[in-house]
Amino acid sequence: MPPPSKILYTVYALAASGDLATHVGATLRRVAIGFAFGSLAGTALGALTGYSKPLARLLDPTLQALRAIPSIAWVPLFILWFGIFEASKVALIAVGVFFPVYLGVYGAVVGVDRRIVEVGRVFRLSGFELIRLILLPAVLPDFILALRAGLGLGWMFVVAAEFMGASEGLGYLLVDGQQLGKPDQILAAILIFAVVGKATDSLLLIVSAPFLRWRDTHASGI
């Protein structure tokens, strides 16, 4: 077990050589693209199934079954389909992000107060307007929570994706550290995961905060 000083020095050395920026950049880019695809699909499908009972009956059982598949099981298929480079990694991350976002949005939309939806009907909103103007704003607090859960899984899956074979990225540092017997590099990578993961979560919170000022919750005074 390397001492903390050695781990910090490894981080410093990586930063000084410019490798750190390359690895963090590669991993961040994968998470960002995967998160974008996964959360977009999760939001769209969650909003549709939450809005329409027939659609929920049609799609939700299938999606729940897909959710039950251990996501790593997709890896061989994704490699066959998308090759061993970026596309398969991003696809795996998107799958990881999709389910918590889908579940969160679906559950929240189904739970929107009937009385406020009726106001939308009185104002003769179309289905799409109802989703955009009432259902999504009403679920925004839950939506942010779902995005955070999705982002968390995105970070989890990027490691799995980078284990699939990568020449750069934080996951690569882990594999490389194991193969070359450099525990300090493994721990440095883990430390960086913690810092960068927390930073992206905080960023999500900061960006979403202005949109949640309307909330009347017991914590809103804090």
Binding site: R115, V122, F123, R124, L140, R215, D216
Partner: protein, 251 residues
């Protein structure tokens, strides 16, 4: 003219909420509907607003059949049902989204002025009192200039002083806009003070017991003997409606 012909509603669970309700309401008339629980008052408004479809009967406005929510019919509920994620101004302007923003802003600030909430444009809904929120709900419904405004016990959740204030306010708005109003209430004084005519309902199934012409001039005095007389009459009718021997349900 709002023409309601033989309206009946039986819910899928078998509840016979409204039976053979017919009423013609003149343009600009203010009609109150009173009755105890189970007499179909709220069902009537849900049918008129297009939120529910009648089992039988039809509704027409100026000769046009109403079968779904209509741009000329709006409703204010017992709870304000405002959108908490929008500011006061955006709530009021909700029905004016299709207008250019300058025109919308103009109408919204005129409406805010009318309800006495100027300067509250940027407030969140959580910052309003119950009375203020209900005023905003009134403004949100009226700003679209509906021909018919339905009011479902709009003041019943407010304290007595705020209620009186808002009743006066409703009369002012009604005078200015000449909107046809149908007010459902369980408050006899509210019905007698506000309405041109009062429809007294009887329950199980909900149907009309009697339609009472108030026949008092506007600028009514809440304390006058005439109003007291009307209230007594309505009160007697209401008691009669609830003690109806034909009723089988037990309360």
């Amino acid at each position: 003219m709002l023409d309601i012909r033989s309206l009946s509603k039986i819910y899928p669970n078998g509840t016979h909420a409204l039976q053979d309700f017919s009423l013609s309401i003149g343009k600009g008339e203010l009609v109150a509907v009173i009755g105890g629980s189970g007499c179909g008052k709220s069902t009537l408004l849900r049918l008129l607003s297009g939120l529910e479809a009648p089992t039988l009967g039809e509704i027409s406005l100026e000769g046009r059949l109403l079968t779904e929510p209509d741009s000329l019919v709006n409703i204010v509920f017992q709870e304000p049902r405002l959108f908490p994620w929008l500011t006061v101004a955006d709530n009021i302007g909700f029905g004016l989204r299709h207008l250019a923003s300058s025109e919308r802003d103009e109408q919204v600030s005129a409406a805010l002025e009318k309800i006495g909430l100027r300067g509250h444009e940027k407030r969140w809904i959580k910052e309003l009192s119950g009375g203020q929120a209900q005023r905003v709900a009134l403004a949100r419904a009226l700003v679209t200039k509906p021909a018919v405004l339905l009011l479902d016990e709009p003041f019943s959740a407010l304290d007595a002083m705020t209620r009186v204030e808002l009743q006066d306010h409703l009369i002012d708005l009604w005078r200015v806009n000449a909107t046809t109003m149908l007010l459902v209430t369980h408050d006899i004084e509210e019905a007698a003070f506000l309405a041109d005519r009062v429809v007294v309902m009887r329950p199980w199934p909900g149907r009309i017991l009697e339609v009472v012409d108030i026949g008092l001039p506007r600028q009514r005095n809440r304390m006058s003997d005439e109003l007291a007389e009307v209230k007594r009459r309505l009160s007697d009718l209401l008691a009669h409606s609830l003690n109806d021997g034909s009723r089988t349900a037990s309360a």
